[in-house]
């Protein structure tokens, strides 16, 4: 059940460059699964629309969710200034996450680029003990984040754009260089990365799920602002569009057009 509520900030810290880590106390922590997101609302009268932010971890017992996000504009800049004890309006859980059931007993490759890494940490945690998980994480430079957390859960392949750490190149370069076999891929990152993941998965006959990003307004499926192009006719509008916020953000790679 989705809800909108006032959340309390448990902690916030800047973990690397423009990347922030925010822990919120919410009533719906136990309902959030890996790959889902929440809407965070700026305060005030000028910026009104919610910002979709993927969930990095949820602790049902503590009633908290952990968000790791990049400060990219005015809204996220405002969130970055929240401190322990502050209140912020949040709505969630939103969207459909990764199909964790399908991963049971399989060799799973988690591929994350940049700010696409946080939901994959959630996956790694959720799959620990039930799947053979490897993560591939692509960063701009050796200013990494969430790397230690990933390494505590699974094997991790690292790439950097500037070659300062791991494979010099894209995260797919790291995956290819490693060459290990997989039955299933979960990916989140920029569109160009998702396109490469889709190609790689098709080449190797691996089923892949990708988490899509699009500008959103309502976050709950009414405004149709965030659609992506689908290969088959969609069930909602009976055209070739799916709502990233509702049917997504996670789609089977072959379902969506990434060209």
């Amino acid at each position: 059940m989705k809800r909108k509520e006032t959340a309390r900030v448990i902690s916030q810290e800047r973990i690397s460059g423009d990347i922030c880590s925010l822990v919120l106390s919410v009533t719906f922590a136990g309902d959030v699964s890996a790959g889902q997101f929440v809407s965070l609302f700026p305060h005030g009268k000028e910026k009104l629309l919610p910002r979709p932010i993927s969930v990095c971890a949820a602790d049902a017992a503590a009633g908290t969710i952990w968000l790791v996000y990049r400060v990219a504009g005015k809204g996220t800049k405002e969130f970055s200034q929240l401190i322990r004890g502050d209140e912020v309006e949040v709505m969630g859980p939103l969207g459909h996450g990764f199909p964790l059931e399908e991963a049971r007993g399989k060799r799973v490759l988690l591929i994350g680029g940049g700010i696409g890494i946080p939901p994959l940490l959630f996956c790694a945690k959720a799959l620990k003990g039930s799947a053979d998980v490897t993560a591939a994480a692509g960063y701009r430079s050796d200013s990494t984040y969430l790397l230690e957390e990933l390494e505590a859960l699974c094997d991790v392949l690292v790439s950097t754009d500037d070659g300062s750490m791991g494979v010099h190149g894209t995260v797919l370069d790291a995956v290819r260089a490693d060459g290990r076999k997989a039955d299933l891929i979960f990916a989140c990152g920029p569109r160009v990365m998702l396109r490469a993941v889709k190609e790689y998965a098709a080449e190797h006959g691996i089923r892949a799920y990708v988490s899509m990003e699009e500008r959103m307004a309502c976050g709950v499926g009414v405004c149709l602002g965030c659609v992506c192009t689908t290969t088959a006719e969609d069930a909602h509008s009976h055209v070739h569009n799916a709502r990233v916020c509702t049917e997504g953000p996670v789609f089977a790679a072959e379902e969506v057009d990434l060209s």
């Binding site: 809800r3 009104l48 629309l49 699009e214 307004a217 009414v222 659609v227 909602h236």
Partner: protein, 324 residues
């Protein structure tokens, strides 16, 4: 402009009433709504998504997403952009078409317990008529709202709703085909909105609703590109409210059919402003995205306002504003 109603009593001198004493009902084209709060087309789907958040039965009415004769794909993305106290959208009226609507969405709406207004869109007058013919006489549809703000090839690429003659023709065409009351939804992107409203009235409209979005544009100066794939989009949200209030005031003075006011309403105070300006009911749009519970809060707040001002019926608020 016709002469405005005279105010006989000073609201400040009236006794405060209890909330339970307030009659919140309004009647639009013969349809009784339990309160004057309606959801604006395109901001509430067909109700299902927000049913998770609130009891739809407490709304005055739901206006559906625009429904066309056949499925529409809409525009490319990005379709939305944030602006100061508002947003631009260029969705392009993506919708599954009237057949899917009738089969899938209407049964849900019928059970919602509130008024049902179906928003009708098209390119050509004949497109509208095809939809209206399918909705004609269908049980569970209380009113039709005809969105005459879509770009139209026939009228030279202009929105069909900017030409009074075409507006009158489409209004009459819809009226002739519909058993339900017809609301014409007006675009504000005209020189004199009263002229369009009068054309609607001449064509037999039962009510008019306004305003639709104001055409705008946003440019990403770093990428030196348009933010919206469609280049232009419709501006909505609190930023447009003063324009909308002015137009509601103008139109309610120019026609005798009821006016449904909308444009940036996000609180009961905003809604009351529209009612005082001449609206008989109000629609809430973008504010649903910010607070899914806002419509019910507005309905409650209007009642509080009436109680505080000793006004026993919400309908008494309509056009109550006085000159200074």
């Amino acid at each position: 402009m016709t002469e405005r109603k005279k105010q006989e009593t000073d609201p400040a001198k009236r006794a405060v009433l209890k909330k339970e004493e307030i009659n919140t009902e309004v009647v639009i084209a013969g349809v009784r709504l339990k309160n004057p709060v309606i959801t604006a087309s395109g901001t509430f789907g067909c109700g299902r998504e927000y049913a998770e958040f609130l009891d739809l039965g407490k709304l005055g009415a739901i206006t559906t997403k625009g429904i066309a004769a056949v499925p529409w794909e809409g525009n490319r993305t990005p379709r939305v952009a944030e602006t100061a106290s508002g947003m631009l959208n260029a969705i392009g009226l993506e919708n599954p078409g009237v057949d899917v609507f009738l089969e899938r969405d209407l049964p849900f709406l019928k059970n919602a317990g509130c008024g049902v207004i179906v928003n009708v869109c098209g390119h050509e007058p004949s497109d509208y008529y095809r939809v209206v013919e399918k909705l004609n006489g269908v049980e569970g549809i209380d009113l039709l709202e005809i969105n005459i703000s879509c770009p139209n090839v026939k009228a030279g690429g202009l929105s069909l709703g900017t030409d009074p003659k075409t507006v009158e023709e489409v209004t009459r065409g819809c009226k002739e085909r519909a058993s339900q009351g017809v609301i014409m939804k007006l675009t504000p992107n005209v020189t004199d909105i009263r002229e369009i409203a009068r054309a609607c009235e001449a064509g037999g409209a039962d009510a008019v609703s306004l305003i639709n979005t104001l055409t705008g544009m946003k440019i990403d100066i770093e990428k030196q590109t348009f933010v919206l794939a469609n280049r232009t989009g419709g501006l909505s949200g609190p930023a447009i409210k003063p324009v909308a209030v002015r137009m509601v005031y103008e139109v309610s003075g120019a026609v005798s059919v009821p006016v449904i006011g909308m444009g940036g309403i996000s609180s009961a105070e905003d809604a009351v402003e529209f009612l005082l300006a001449g609206a008989s009911a109000v629609s809430v749009g973008m504010a649903n995205f910010i607070n899914p519970y806002v419509t019910l809060e507005i309905a409650e707040g209007i009642r509080d306002y009436c109680a505080r001002h000793g006004i026993s019926k919400v309908t008494e608020l309509t056009g109550r504003v006085k000159g200074r």
